[in-house]
């Protein structure tokens, strides 16, 4: 705060100082001579009057006149030429004056001095040209305004003072702006720092000035952000729990139905009864999968599905996944063909998500491509991309007679693939479906 005040008032203070200095000098100079003594007209008149007042042109009277004037005007010079043109007396005259003044020289002298410097007054003694004349010379600068004179007299000090003030101003400004810049940079740096939750970290406020207040406001914002993040996390948690509980509550009765169906299946029942039990079992599996998909879909839609991308050996991942899926296809009588070639680069993906993508695609194959009884899982790679390919020989997705809800499975695949910055491609025709999960380099 203080530094701002200094900066704000420094210029004004400098002006004031210069003005005061100038005023002081003016008074100082004015004190040396009163106004009358510096007016050329008055001087001229007084010189004429004094000259006229001289009764005779004796050396004493003229000398005393000269002495008197010299007291008043120390800078003045004077001389006397008598009626014969002889230079009788001179005082402080610069340059050489001729001892004998001819009318021609006198005329030249007058012409030269008219309006020139020094200011020259020529006056006849006693007002009569027969008595000779006396001349007064005063340097013109004596008549200049006091400020100009002050400038001439103290110019160097004034200049130095002004320079000092300007230098001082520049230094103070530099210090001021450097201080501000430093603190602003510090503030910017602090604003860019992030903690574990990728939220900014509060700043240690040291001063209570404007920047300090800015820092305080920033801290308040950080607190608000943290609160809102926490609220969001709590809501997220609540949402997850709600969905998890809902799913649990749906699955519990489904498990009971499953248990009873299983018990009935073991009884000695008619072929129709057996058919019904089989249908029930299939429906239970389907409902189970639908609940699972619905849960994932809801979480994905709200971007609340946990994701953790890691470097993944894709071929190994595919092999391990297929190891657990193989028996299912084997049981259904599928011919399973796995063609895995090592890929050059590792994939960046969430194994849980990728596993889910696999499950959804393979469940689809199991349900839609039973006619083809063929599954091929392979890796493909080119200069621009790597891909995992799933090929079946079913009748294609369009011709599938199964429930429409199955679409949700592929919607999840779509969201998860895109969520991991991968791409996918699906080609489905009458003779089969090809799905590619693509990772561009």
């Amino acid at each position: 705060m203080a530094i701002i005040l200094v900066a704000l008032f420094l210029f004004q203070a400098a002006y004031l100082l210069v003005a005061m200095l100038a005023m002081g000098l003016q008074e100082d100079i004015s004190g040396e001579q009163n106004q009358n003594e510096t007016d050329p007209k008055q001087i001229e008149e007084k010189w004429h009057a004094d000259s006229k007042a001289l009764k005779n042109s004796s050396r004493e009277s003229i000398s005393s006149l000269f002495a008197e004037w010299k007291r008043t005007y120390p800078a003045a010079s004077m001389f006397w030429v008598d009626e014969m043109g002889n230079l009788m007396e001179q005082r402080d005259v610069k340059g050489n004056l001729p001892a004998q003044w001819t009318p021609a020289y006198t005329a030249k002298f007058i012409k030269e001095r008219y309006g020139g410097d020094p200011f020259t007054v020529i006056s006849f003694i006693g007002g009569d040209e027969k008595n000779g004349f006396i001349v007064l010379e005063i340097p013109r600068n004596l008549f200049l305004p006091p400020l100009v004179k002050a400038a001439e007299k103290y110019g160097i000090f004034l200049g130095a003072g002004l320079l000092l003030i300007i230098t001082l101003f520049i230094i103070v400004s530099f210090l001021f702006f450097r201080g501000i810049r430093k603190r602003l940079l510090h503030l910017q740096e602090a604003m860019e720092r992030r903690d574990m939750d990728s939220l900014p970290i509060g700043i240690d406020v040291q001063k209570n000035d404007e920047i300090g207040q800015l820092e305080k406001t920033f801290n308040e914002m950080v607190d608000e952000l943290k609160e809102s993040k926490q609220r969001e996390q709590e809501e997220e948690q609540l949402r997850r729990e709600l969905i998890a509980n809902l799913s649990h509550d749906l699955r519990t009765p489904l498990t009971k139905i499953n248990a009873h169906t299983y018990s009935i299946g073991k009884e000695d029942i008619s072929p129709e009864g057996k058919q019904a039990v089989k249908a029930l079992k299939t429906s239970i599996v389907n409902i189970d999968r639908l609940i699972e998909n619905l849960m994932s879909y809801t979480l994905l839609m709200a971007s609340k599905h946990k994701q953790e991308l890691i470097e993944l050996d894709e071929v190994r991942f595919v092999r391990e996944n297929m190891a657990s899926w193989y028996p299912v296809f084997e049981k259904e009588g599928f011919e399973v063909n796995i063609e895995l070639e090592p890929l050059e680069k590792k994939w960046k993906a969430d194994p849980m998500w990728l596993g889910r993508i696999f499950d959804n695609i393979l469940q689809n194959v199991l349900r839609h491509a039973k006619d083809g009884l063929y599954l091929e899982v392979a890796t493909l790679s080119s200069e621009e991309w790597d891909a995992i390919v799933f090929i079946d020989h079913g009748k294609g997705l369009k011709n599938s007679s199964n429930e429409r809800g199955a679409g949700i499975g592929l919607s999840i695949v779509d969201m998860m693939v895109k969520g991991m910055n991968l791409e996918w491609d699906i080609e489905s025709g009458d003779s089969g479906t090809v799905i590619k999960i693509i990772r561009k380099h």
Binding site: R240, D249, Y262, S263, M295
Partner: protein
């Protein structure tokens, strides 16, 4: 065959599973909450726990079991299917199965766990071989002699027996038996499989016991 400590509050599911597992030859101790479960620790071979239970939940019970009796396999059987739940369960439990489930699958998983923890001595019939799971004695029934395996062959075969019916990838086998990261192109595993087949198979060029699953790995199936 095994004594199973089963904690499930839903009486429909509980009684059904108790019967089913009983029919499969297991002895089931079914409790509707974790209260008093400590009394059965000494006699139980394996614990099957539901998660949503009155009082302490299944996760807490499972952790308590593992703390008191670390060598008892714990299988979580829950209708909670969220990844977070599975991860929490598998942080201490040995398996996690979601409801609704097929009793055959549950029975198979119980078998795997019992074998892994070597809780019971099973005699497996693998084609012409008879395998005692606890000490891994292998008898050729046709030739009526015992087959002796070397150290690595023994470990490899044991790994197959512990993961019976599972397809094991090259990486899983190598890392499980050798305890080192598998490097693509390493022939060590293939060589040992060949030796093992030469000892076990009737016709090593057409193996029946250690199946090759093309593109994935190997499997020993009964």
């Amino acid at each position: 065959m095994a004594r199973i400590l089963y904690i499930e509050d839903e009486s429909d599911i509980g009684s059904w599973l108790k019967n089913d597992l009983g029919e499969r030859g297991h002895e089931v101790i079914w409790l509707q909450s974790g209260e008093g479960m400590e009394g059965y620790f000494s006699e139980a071979d394996i614990a099957i726990l539901d998660v949503m239970l009155p009082g302490l939940d299944g996760f807490s019970l499972g952790k308590r079991i593992k703390k008191v009796k670390n060598d008892m396999p714990v299988l979580m059987l829950s209708a909670r299917t969220a990844v977070e739940d599975k991860l929490e369960g598998l942080s201490f439990a040995d398996d996690y199965l979601t409801k609704p489930f097929q009793p055959d699958e549950l029975a198979a998983r119980i078998e795997v766990l019992l074998r892994r923890f070597q809780k019971n001595d099973q005699v497996l019939d693998l084609h012409h071989l008879q395998v005692h799971t606890k000490d891994l004695r292998i008898i050729d029934r046709e030739a009526d002699n015992e087959i002796q395996l070397t150290g690595k062959q023994y470990q490899l075969f044991q790994f197959f027996i512990r993961h019976l019916n599972q397809i094991l990838t090259k990486e899983q086998l190598y890392e499980g038996v050798w305890g080192e990261q598998y490097m693509e192109g390493d022939k060590t595993l293939m060589v040992h499989i060949r030796y093992l087949r030469e000892k076990l198979e009737k016709n090593p060029s057409r193996p029946e016991i250690i199946e090759t699953i093309r593109g994935i790995g190997y499997r020993v199936k009964i």
